[in-house]
């Protein structure tokens, strides 16, 4: 056991860590929102950040509208 280990490897990014751990990108986005809320101190109901789905962007919204119109 060394007295002290000097770490020389660069600090991994969030994406690198997620890839190494096998966490999906969408879940990383949710975790990012959760952690930002915690760090900023507005974590009253933090579970919301992990359970609510991401709001659809304009492209997805148009595609969904077309799909419902066809059906």
């Amino acid at each position: 056991m060394p007295a002290k280990a000097v770490i020389t490897a660069p600090v991994p990014t969030v994406q690198e860590t997620a890839r190494e751990m096998g966490v999906a990108k969408a879940r990383v986005r949710q975790l990012r929102r959760l952690m930002t809320a915690i760090v900023e101190g507005r974590d009253g109901r933090v579970v919301r950040f992990l359970t609510r789905t991401t709001p659809a962007g304009p492209k997805r919204r148009v595609a969904k509208r077309k799909q419902t119109a066809r059906s």
């Binding site: 280990a5 000097v6 600090v11 969030v14 997620a18 190494e20 975790l31």
Partner: protein, 223 residues
């Protein structure tokens, strides 16, 4: 021929920032487990544990595979006492995995550094006298103690976190752990998914809490 070529070929480069965490998976240890994840993430390491690998493989093979992949390993021998359920038995898993790490260090060409964590001073000399001369990292059974022990064991030339920053990451993770458990519908962190998500959450928190990581590199002035 092919096997010879394989033998002489270059070995794949393994990550230098991975750490194997060998701890008791019991509910009383959960806060120390979170502290260990927070501390290691603060130092830029990615924690790994046996619980993240699917259970189809033989447990010993899983442990060996993970140990081989990791540059550092942290073994907590603080729970060596007898358990309450009859017949009373001590836990041999952690000392056994420490032995495997020690053997790997001797046999592997690649460097592997292992650390022993303990709650009480001088107990290691009594429980595992083969490690005589090894200075264990004492945490006193508290999350703050774990963070201080990691600060004593690890060093970085750049982005060196302070104990206060590590404590902030730990506090963030305690809140996040509750949310992750609730969203996954589980009451324990000791399974693959909560553990993996906690590691990612710790990285996000570390990126935000460690001041030097948030700072952008200075641009050189021209002329």
């Amino acid at each position: 021929m092919a096997s010879r070529r394989r033998r002489t070929g270059r070995r794949p480069r393994l990550p230098l920032n991975t750490a194997f965490v060998n701890v008791p998976y019991d509910p009383h240890y959960e806060n120390l487990f979170i502290a260990l994840i927070a501390g290691l993430s603060g130092f830029g390491l990615i924690p790994h544990a046996t619980l993240e690998i699917p259970g189809s493989e033989r447990r010993l093979n899983r442990i060996m595979g993970l140990l081989r992949r990791c540059r550092y390993s942290f073994h907590d021998l603080s729970r060596v006492e007898l358990d309450a359920t009859p017949p009373e038995t001590p836990r041999f898993n952690m000392p056994f995995e420490l032995g495997l790490a020690g053997a790997l260090r001797q046999t592997l060409r690649r460097r592997h550094e292992w650390f022993v964590l303990e709650a009480k001073a001088h107990r290691l000399g009594k429980s595992l006298s083969d490690l005589g001369g090894t200075d264990e990292l004492l945490h006193g059974g508290t999350p703050g103690g774990v963070l201080r022990a990691l600060t004593n064991a690890l060093a970085r030339s750049r982005h060196r976190p302070t104990v206060a920053e590590l404590e902030q990451i730990y506090a963030d993770l305690v809140t996040a752990a509750g949310a992750i458990k609730k969203s996954l519908g589980t009451d324990s962190l000791y399974s693959a998914r909560p553990f993996k998500e906690l590691v990612v959450a710790a990285r996000i928190s570390a990126r935000q809490r460690i001041a030097s990581l948030g700072r952008r590199p200075r641009r050189r002035r021209r002329g």
